[in-house]
Symmetry: C2
Subunit: 143 residues, 2 copies
DNA sequence: ATAATAAAAGATAAATTTGTCTTTTATTAG
DNA sequence: CTAATAAAAGACAAATTTATCTTTTATTAT
């Protein structure tokens, strides 16, 4: 469904949102450990998200990653879009170069429903909304 | 959503179903051209599907690929399962090693709905059911 | 039997994704 | 100002996916 990169990205962003809900920052090592991902790999991904403004970062001592008020308004759809592009939102499920209403693949109508369900879910999910459930260990970001 | 391999596989199987609805056979070159895929690549995939019994093949002159009565009862879910395994049917959408009801990821409940929709669609779609629409050029397997 | 045909199999290679290691840059505390 | 810290950047490597090319095997028609 998503690339590994994107899976890590979503988990990391949710993790950072929770860890920095109090205004603090969280280092890359703690993120990597918290979501069980390779440290330098998730670092690259976060650099990207940071450049695009989805998350914030600060170098040096006391530095780390965090989300500002603006970023807390972003949704998972924004994360997915930055990392995986819009294939999942608009691409043809059977791999035709471009999804088209006038020249549809055999599953076009079915795929459209599923794509829409995915889009809707991602667009309606904000980065910070799992903090409490994570705190209470009702949901998890690693096994 | 699916691997490139799986996309080709689905398109090829639908193509073969249509082309051989009359009991004939279709060669690998025609398949590759018909779905716009690399010839030797789709050949490997069809070998696999053939070994698994999802499609049939016959060597030599007048040989080619086709679907017997039994195979026409298979669904796209069978094809996807052979090619991509069961990640799409049961895997965690956020990449946790295993989806779990008792230790769910934050999106578990949402993903479950989507996975179920995909499963349902694939299980209810039989290989031959697009032949007529393809014939009438209402749907397409390449751009 | 023989030659022609077409899939099967095997080997190799390109491209992409995923992961690791090292160096550089910015920031802070002292 | 200096040393310590932590992200940013760059280079490289492994693994996987996707694609290509060649040889072998089975089957058919003549
Ligand atoms: S054409 Fe395939 S999903 Fe629209
Ligand atoms: S645990 Fe992630 S989908 Fe079930």
């Amino acid at each position: 469904m998503f690339s590994k990169t994107c899976e890590y990205a979503i988990r990391a962003v949710i993790f950072i949102a929770q860890k920095t809900a109090d205004g603090s920052r969280v280092g890359i090592k703690e993120v990597a450990a918290g979501i069980d991902s390779p440290e330098h790999f998730i670092a690259k991904i976060l650099q990207d998200l940071s450049r695009k403004g989805i998350i914030q970062s600060q170098k040096g001592p006391t530095g780390g990653f965090y989300l500002d008020a603006q970023s807390r308004k972003y949704t998972l759809a924004d994360v997915v879009h930055v990392v995986d592009g819009d294939q999942i939102f608009n691409g043809c499920g059977l791999g035709l170069k471009q999804c088209s209403e006038t020249k549809p693949c055999p599953l076009h109508n079915e795929f459209k429903k599923i794509r829409d369900a995915i889009s809707k879910m991602l667009r309606s999910t904000h980065l910070g909304e799992f903090s409490e459930q994570l705190e209470q260990k009702l949901v998890f970001l690693k096994r």
